[in-house]
């Protein structure tokens, strides 16, 4: 293998691919990145046996195709620290030579044949969506996914596609985030998959151009995603995702409408006086708007007033401010909060594409 490569592009590719690699693994080979040079392209591959990524770097001049396998961390830092426009990569026996203008590195390579095969995107996608829309949907849901729940199925975001409709749901048992939108073209076949949080974080970090489109294909226990630069393969979270339709209340009797920014700021200010054992803030909706209050015994109290348009009778309800902030950060300009009783869930809506159910706290 012998090639000359645009260094910043290679550096970005290595940064993206490094996110796949787990630092602690009993298999050192999984800490390597595989470099494959074809006639016009260099492909980087990394895999943790659950999630894999191939990243195509096209800013290369390949003079001799070939392959090598090197420790990803080494190569990444070499390429990152170098300041040249281009780097020359060349293999000789077990060695990978990386040459810049004033620098020459030799890295010992591993046997490429020992690297496990990584699933690739083959055949037609089930559906195609603009990448920006998909990443936006991930942003609006992934924060609500459980991280290490014993209820395994909620440790991911559920994707569901049916005809033109595509929707995403995540919950950690205390709140639930939903988002959905219509695709231009109906999916080839309906499907649903619970996608691990790690995969979604990889996807969200990928650089994309405004017009980029992503291909999605579901295989048995495997989801494949293809962007113009990268292909991600991911195992799915097994199990049955809870029936989220059931937990979205439809019988709320009160609705408050607020400016997202003002509400978010008020929640932040009120949350300053919470503690580990007094996490909650009280939201008092009344004629004159919304009063947020909090109290830490023996330390102090907070009271913040903000505007809110309430439909229905006044209500006091407690929430964990972190749960509110998580959602408010991804809301559009205005939000509505629907409530029924202080012990019943609240529903936060912003635009037609976002809905968030959160359970109240029983304030002491």
């Amino acid at each position: 293998m012998k090639l000359i490569c645009d260094r910043p592009v290679l550096s970005e590719a290595l940064a993206a691919i490094s996110a796949v690699i787990v630092t602690r693994t009993p298999k050192p080979i999984l800490q390597c990145v595989r470099l494959t040079a074809d006639s016009d392209c260099l492909t980087l591959t990394a895999y943790d046996q659950e999630v894999g990524m191939r990243y195509r770097v096209t800013h290369v001049e390949v003079s001799q195709p070939g392959e090598t396998l090197v420790m990803a961390e080494r190569l990444t830092s070499i390429v990152r620290e170098n300041t040249d426009e281009t780097l020359a990569l060349e293999t000789s026996d077990d060695l990978l030579h990386v040459r810049g203008r004033n620098a020459h590195y030799q890295i010992y390579g591993q046997n490429v044949r020992e690297f496990p095969p990584v699933p690739d995107f083959e055949g037609e996608p089930d559906f195609r969506v603009p990448m920006a829309k998909l990443v936006g949907a991930v942003d609006r849901t992934v924060f609500a996914a459980a991280r290490e729940s014993t209820r395994y199925a909620i440790n991911g975001v559920m994707w569901e596609w049916k005809g033109k409709k595509l929707q995403f749901v995540a919950t950690d048992g205390r709140r639930l985030a939903w988002t959905g939108f219509s695709m231009d073209k109906a999916a080839g076949s309906d499907g649903k998959a619970i996608v691990p949080v790690k995969t979604l974080n990889l996807l969200a970090k990928l650089r994309s151009e405004p017009d980029d489109v992503i291909d999605v294909k579901l295989e048995p226990n495997q989801l494949l995603l293809r962007t113009p630069r990268a292909t991600i393969s991911s195992v799915l979270v097994e199990g049955n995702f809870p029936n989220y339709e059931d937990v979205i209340p439809r019988d709320c009797t009160r609705t408050a409408e607020m400016s997202t920014q003002e509400f978010l700021s008020a929640v932040r200010q009120t949350a300053l006086l919470t503690s580990e054992d007094s996490r909650g803030i009280r939201l008092s909706f009344g004629e004159e708007g919304l009063v947020l209050s909090s109290r830490v015994p023996e330390q102090g109290e907070a009271r913040v007033q903000t505007e809110a348009k309430l439909k229905g009778s006044p209500i006091d309800i407690g929430f964990n401010p972190m749960y509110l902030l998580d959602a408010l950060k991804v809301c559009q300009e205005t939000v509505t909060l629907e409530m029924k009783e202080p012990s019943k869930p609240g529903v936060l809506r912003s635009g037609p594409e976002f809905l968030y159910v959160l359970m109240p706290l029983t304030l002491s």
């Binding site: 048992g173 205390r174 809870p242 580990e276 054992d277 007094s278 029983t362 304030l363 002491s364």
Partner: protein
């Protein structure tokens, strides 16, 4: 069918002996108690083969008239009580008039006694229940009882005697019980012709404890005393770090008699030391109670080891109260032992010596420029300490051992004196002086930064010995597990998880007193399996669960559903907590809600605390250490493991051979 007939008196005595005399130790106990009842000031116990061959107890008591000797070995004959009224106010160790008769029926017994006003002694032998004649003989005033070949005529009992060392240890235990109860009596113990133990009479019980168990134990003892209207409580306990694997080291005495009270030694001691001692370990406690004989009944058990209180609940709560108060007012941080235990000399004493040495050095440097405003006993808070009011050196009082309370003898003021002396004035003053000289410029901001209103409890009760331990200087995290910080007299090593756990536990506990915990309702209720017992236990636990911020309901015949859990658990595992809680609910026989709450808080604190291996930011370290002194019993985690070890300058100097 055999006919019913009256039993031969010898047989009756043998049967009675079965109850009273189990082994040589029982004989020693009965004979020593007789000696005490006879007004002895000296008791000599001589044994052969652990008492199986010979037990001889001689005293310098009042002696027995020669013509009363045959009565002494007759059943139900005694000089100790006469009427039924006497039974309600027993002031002697024995009263049943059974012991000598019983012993005489199962051994070869010889009594030699001389009243002080007589010129000659009289002797009497009794073997296998047959009483011989009274014969004149020579002996010093007092009584000597010799018991040979115990159980020679009761093969079944003889068979169950254990090895000589085992029997000897039982005898020693009995001697200990009497020796501790009566430090005013000189006691000696001889075994196989060798003097094993010689305990000179003393007025100081603590000295007697030291004589018996060795100075290492005695020097660390922490004293307590309280006078209640009809109960006087006094005693000593060893710091929790000196706990034992067996409950044998808990001595409870009532009016000079060793008693075994399951409530006192079980419940009260366990409760008082809860969280300070690991499970399955027992505190070392010497508890001496003085009560009106009419307030309890000792005639419950033939060996009188059990008593029945007229008002057991009050006794329990009074003892618990004084123990708790004493524990709270002491710095229980164990010292790191840098010397092998065998080297003797205890670290706490060294610390004291070290403190006074430093004090001397400081005094030589001139009067301190700043110090603590409060005089000894003044409830000045930590915040007030920062006010830098110069303190006159004349405030200094003579040194005291931090572990010892010296009480005024008038009991009326005992309690207030107890509080006042909770902080040893000298060490506190000196500590302040050290801050004043070397450390104030740097530490002042930190002291001031601690808002006084964040410490609702008077510092005087909270302070643990030398104050600056609560205000550590620089701290260093090592192995992401321990925090090491400098103190004026050395350094502290803190287990970050144990300390955080203890702090969270105390905060939770304090939080519980202010009302139910804040509760996060669940969007997806958790269901989990439950046994019928657990479901049944759940029914009565509604209020308890509410206080904990939990909402758990039965869900079908074999499962429960959790609808809400305490918010401070964050993302912690609700299922695990609930499963543990159900176990606790179903298992606890008495369903003591406090014990369950304790267990649950314990679980919560453990799960929420920083773990060993968690890297802490300097701010987090400072926050953790600064909360240390706000918490009661910060020296141990809720499971009783120590949170903090102390290494004094003196220890370091010794290790580096600087002294």
């Amino acid at each position: 069918m055999p006919h019913i007939q009256r039993l031969d008196p010898v047989l009756v005595n043998k049967i009675a002996a079965g109850e009273v005399i189990e082994r040589p130790a029982s004989v020693v106990k009965e004979l020593m108690e007789n000696a005490l009842d006879a007004g002895a000031t000296r008791i000599d116990v001589t044994l052969e083969d652990g008492g199986t061959t010979l037990i001889s107890v001689s005293d310098d008591g009042g002696g027995i008239e020669p013509d009363e000797l045959p009565l002494a070995v007759a059943p139900h004959a005694t000089s100790k009580i006469r009427t039924v009224d006497d039974l309600n106010a027993i002031g002697t160790m024995g009263f049943r008039g059974e012991a000598l008769a019983s012993i005489g029926s199962i051994s070869r017994l010889r009594i030699v006694s001389r009243r002080a006003d007589r010129l000659e002694a009289a002797g009497l032998e009794c073997s296998d229940g047959r009483v011989g004649d009274v014969t004149p003989c020579a002996a010093p005033p007092g009584t000597t009882v010799e018991v040979r070949n115990l159980f020679f005529n009761v093969p079944a009992r003889r068979k169950y005697l254990r090895t000589i060392p085992a029997e000897l240890s039982h005898v020693t235990e009995q001697i200990a019980r009497i020796a501790l109860a009566r430090p005013d009596v000189t006691i000696s113990q001889t075994h196989q012709g060798r003097a094993v133990r010689r305990l000179p009479a003393t007025t100081d019980r603590r000295a007697r404890i030291g004589d018996f168990f060795g100075p290492e134990l005695a020097n660390d003892l922490i004293g307590f005393r309280r006078q209640e209207p009809d109960l006087r409580i006094e005693g000593w306990f060893a710091p929790p770090a000196a706990s034992r694997a067996s409950g044998k080291w808990q001595y409870v005495f009532l009016n000079g008699r060793f008693i075994r009270d399951r409530d006192l030694s079980g419940f009260v001691l366990r409760e008082a030391f809860r969280g300070l001692i690991e499970p399955a370990r027992y505190p070392v406690v010497f508890l001496f109670l003085t009560a009106d004989p009419a307030s309890y009944d000792v005639n419950v058990h033939p060996t009188k080891i059990e008593v029945r209180w007229r008002d057991a609940g009050r006794v329990k709560s009074q003892v618990l109260g004084v123990l708790r108060e004493t524990l709270l007012s002491h710095d229980l941080t164990p010292s790191l032992r840098t010397q092998p235990a065998a080297a003797g000399g205890t670290t706490s004493a060294d610390t004291v010596a070290n403190m006074s040495a430093l004090a001397e050095r400081l005094k030589a440097l001139g009067p301190p420029t700043a110090g603590w405003a409060g005089h000894s006993g003044d409830a000045s808070s930590v915040g007030a300490g920062a006010s830098s009011i110069p303190a006159a050196p004349s405030d200094r009082r003579p040194g005291r051992q931090p572990h010892e309370h010296e009480f005024p003898l008038s009991h009326e003021s005992a309690e207030s004196a107890h509080r006042a002396s909770a902080i040893p004035p000298e060490s506190r003053f000196d500590a302040a002086a050290m801050i004043g000289r070397d450390r104030l410029p740097r530490d002042e901001t930190r002291i001031v930064a601690a808002p006084p209103d964040a410490m609702p409890i008077p510092a005087a009760r909270r302070d643990e010995g030398p104050v600056p331990h609560a205000l550590p200087g620089r701290a260093l995290q090592i192995h992401n597990t321990y925090l090491v910080c400098e103190t004026p007299d050395g350094l502290l090593i803190v287990d970050q998880h144990a300390l955080h756990e203890r702090i969270l536990y105390e905060e939770l506990k304090a939080r519980m007193t202010r009302g139910p915990l804040e509760s996060q309702r669940l969007l997806l209720p958790e269901t989990l399996d439950a046994s019928p017992e657990q479901l049944a236990a759940l029914e009565g636990a509604g209020e308890l669960l509410l206080r904990l911020g939990l909402e758990i309901e039965p869900f079908g015949p074999r499962s429960v559903v959790v609808r809400a859990c305490p918010s401070l658990l964050g993302d912690l595992n609700v299922r695990e907590l609930t499963a543990d809680l159900l176990d606790k609910l179903a298992d606890s026989e008495r369903r003591d809600p406090e014990a369950i709450i304790h267990a649950v808080l314990d679980m919560m604190a453990c799960k929420a605390a920083v773990k060993a291996g968690d890297r802490l930011t300097p701010e987090a370290i400072e926050a953790l250490l600064s909360r240390r002194h706000l918490v009661e019993r910060s020296s141990n985690c809720p499971h009783g493991r120590p949170t903090t070890l102390r290494l004094s300058l003196r220890d370091l100097e010794r290790q580096f051979k600087r002294t």
